[in-house]
């Protein structure tokens, strides 16, 4: 027990004493955005526990409670802190659940595109030659189609390939796939470049001589050395992935109205912009902006902190 008790603060201490930690504490943007992010993520994932209502459970939604303004306005009503939508759905609950959807899709898309990109980069950089050429040409092709367009098309294709009954339940998966398929190239290029450097180093040559399997070399020896830029890219890409999802949902090719993400909520709210129900579009937009802003601030700081040139 005492060991555990000292181990934890020990690690934290070590982080705070390190260069990075020092920079972290000295940069308000970094720790502020981290705090905001932790709060947003926690509330989003605890939504079933803390949200006043489950907006997906139709039996809990009463249309008589439609379009109640936020609680501080005349006509506001407990427990609808941020008001309700035209269905009588609590806006705060919808935002919490919507944030969960947006974050899950964003994180999943980053993980999938990172996994894909890192694997391609490792293989490409390690083997070189024809495989490398083929994979990198593939990457060029992906990059030669503007990302937003690519994401729309991939999601259209995947949606059509699914049987009609599965399209809505699998909407999130379709989004993850379409965002990932457009975003992996950056990771692949980064990893490939560092792999090509690493593979000529002596420790790799030594491992090859003693006939360690290539997969193992890549995973155990090369991968750890390429991770720093990948992590920076992943943080910055999380913001982009969340925005891509929101944009697709806003255009009506993303999450359906029955499982709304923040982008879907903004699209719905947009229809009520002139009827006076401003809270339907303003709050989801703020939440989306806040998430992406914190992620980007954190990513910016991480990039600068890890870049020796800028110290």
């Amino acid at each position: 027990m005492p060991v555990d008790a000292t181990a934890k603060p020990g690690r934290l201490r070590r982080f705070l004493d390190s260069d990075i930690g020092w920079s972290f504490c000295r940069t308000p943007a970094a720790w502020l955005s981290t705090m905001v992010l932790v709060l947003l993520i926690a509330t989003a994932f605890l939504a079933p526990l803390i949200a006043p209502q489950n907006p997906h459970d139709l039996a809990q939604v009463f249309i008589d409670k439609a379009e109640i303004p936020p609680i501080w306005q005349a006509g506001g009503e407990w427990p609808f802190l941020l008001g309700t939508d035209p269905q009588g759905r609590d806006v705060l609950s919808a935002i919490l659940y919507g944030t969960r959807v947006s974050l899950l899709i964003g994180i999943a898309a980053v993980i999938v595109s990172m996994g894909l990109g890192v694997s391609v980069g490792l293989v490409s950089g390690f083997y070189g030659g024809r495989i490398d050429n083929l994979l990198m040409r593939l990457g060029d092709t992906v990059l030669s189609i503007p990302t937003l367009l690519m994401a729309i098309l991939v999601s259209a294709i995947f949606r059509e390939l699914l049987p009609p009954g599965l399209r809505e339940p699998f909407a999130a998966v379709v989004l993850v796939v379409s965002i990932s398929l457009t975003n992996w190239v950056q990771y692949a290029r980064t990893v490939r470049a560092s792999t090509m450097v690493e593979r000529r180093k002596e420790y790799v040559l030594a491992a090859r001589i003693i006939k360690v399997a290539p997969a193992r070399i890549m995973r155990r020896h090369i991968l750890p050395n390429t991770l720093t830029p990948v992590m920076v890219a992943a943080t910055l890409n999380l913001g982009l992935a969340i925005l891509s999802e929101a944009t697709l949902s806003f255009l009506g090719v993303g999450m359906p109205i029955t499982q709304p993400s923040l982008g879907t909520l903004i699209r719905i709210g947009n229809q009520y912009l002139f009827s006076g129900s401003w809270w339907l579009v303003v709050f989801p937009s703020l939440q989306l902006g806040l998430i992406v802003l914190s992620v980007n601030l954190l990513g910016d700081w991480l990039r600068d902190a890890l870049n020796p040139k800028l110290r």
């Binding site: 092709t141 990059l143 030669s144 189609i145 503007p146 367009l149 729309i152």
Partner: protein, 330 residues
């Protein structure tokens, strides 16, 4: 040099072929064209006849070859939705999108460069720090939400600017321009700003980074040491040195702006290619989707190739290392 030129062009052609293949897949497999074109009462004989007429009974490779051949001649068939020639539909809308992108590009340079220079020179001033923060904000706010807020503020509440469309346009040959009428120019303002915001922050950050980099180089230090006035050092030497990458990235970004314009066009009901495409997606109007993909990628790939070639011309060191990757900063 000719070898590099050839290699780069072949590369571009290969990429276009891959894009055409993707477009073909969409055309062939997203929904059955026969089902989409005929109404539900059509008989089996009508279906079979249409299948033969469209060449869907032929082999896969032959179909693809036909598709590429037709596309190269600008023949993408007719739209399922409004039965018009697809290529005509796209060329009719191209001027609207292009003028919007032009305005956005102009704004991004006119605003982004001064801001970038300022934040680099006075990197520790409060204003520069705030601008840095605002630039992150600019990347973080979704452009559709900004567009909506602009409409609410400037069109509905203040009634200063139009909320949709291009206003009056003047037809010059096949080109329709909104630059020549007052209402056309006014209509460009809000969508132009909305589309350019992301680009402004991009240019600003790029200029700042390049300026900081350049100012650490020896020749700037040397210039300073010689006692040249700060203004001359900053603008005549440092800024000039970092304009090349700015112009390159701007050129490359035009392709991305054209694609990204589809969000702005949707918000402002701007009758450009992007809106055509979004409508085609909701109506599953496959020929339009496929054609748009090919046309936009073609612009994108040509710009990339052109920039690479220019770069190689200017800087021989780069001939072996294509820089097309920079294009997709987004």
């Amino acid at each position: 040099m000719p070898a590099f030129l050839l290699k780069r062009l072949l590369n571009a052609a290969g990429v276009m072929l891959a894009v055409a293949f993707l477009a073909f897949l969409i055309f062939r497999f997203v929904g059955d064209p026969v089902e989409l074109m005929l109404n539900e009462q059509a008989s089996q004989a009508q279906r079979d006849e249409l299948r033969v007429r469209l060449g869907l009974d032929r082999g896969f490779v032959l179909q693809f070859a036909t598709f590429v051949g037709n596309a190269a001649r600008g023949d993408f068939g007719i739209s399922y939705r409004n039965q018009q020639d697809v290529f005509t539909l796209i060329t009719e809308r191209f001027p609207a999108t292009f003028e919007l992108v032009l305005v956005a590009t102009f704004l991004s340079l006119a605003v982004g460069i001064p801001l970038g220079v300022y934040t680099a020179i006075r990197r520790d001033s409060l204003l520069a720090k705030s601008l840095q923060f605002v630039s992150v904000l600019g990347v973080s706010l979704p452009s559709f939400a900004l567009g909506i807020l602009f409409i609410l503020l400037f069109s509905v509440t203040l009634q200063w600017l139009p909320a949709f469309g291009r206003g009056e346009v003047v037809q010059i040959g096949w080109w329709s321009t909104g630059f020549l009428t007052p209402s056309g120019r006014r209509a460009l303002i809000l969508p132009g700003i909305t589309l350019s915001l992301f680009q402004i922050t991009l240019v600003m950050r790029l200029v700042r980074a390049e300026m900081l980099e350049t100012m650490r180089t020896d020749f700037i230090r040397f210039a300073r040491a010689r006692g040249l006035p700060a203004r001359a050092v900053n603008f005549r030497h440092a800024l000039r040195n970092c304009l090349m990458p700015v112009i390159t990235v701007t050129g490359l970004q035009i392709g991305n702006l054209i694609a990204f314009a589809l969000v702005t066009e949707t918000v402002f009901q701007w009758p450009g290619m992007g809106m055509l495409f979004v409508q085609a997606v909701t109506f599953v109007d496959i020929p339009v989707m496929a054609a748009y993909l090919i046309v936009v990628s073609f612009i994108f790939v040509s710009l990339n190739a052109l920039v690479d070639l220019l770069y190689a011309y200017v800087d021989p060191r780069l001939r072996e290392d294509a820089i097309s990757g920079a294009a997709n900063a987004r």
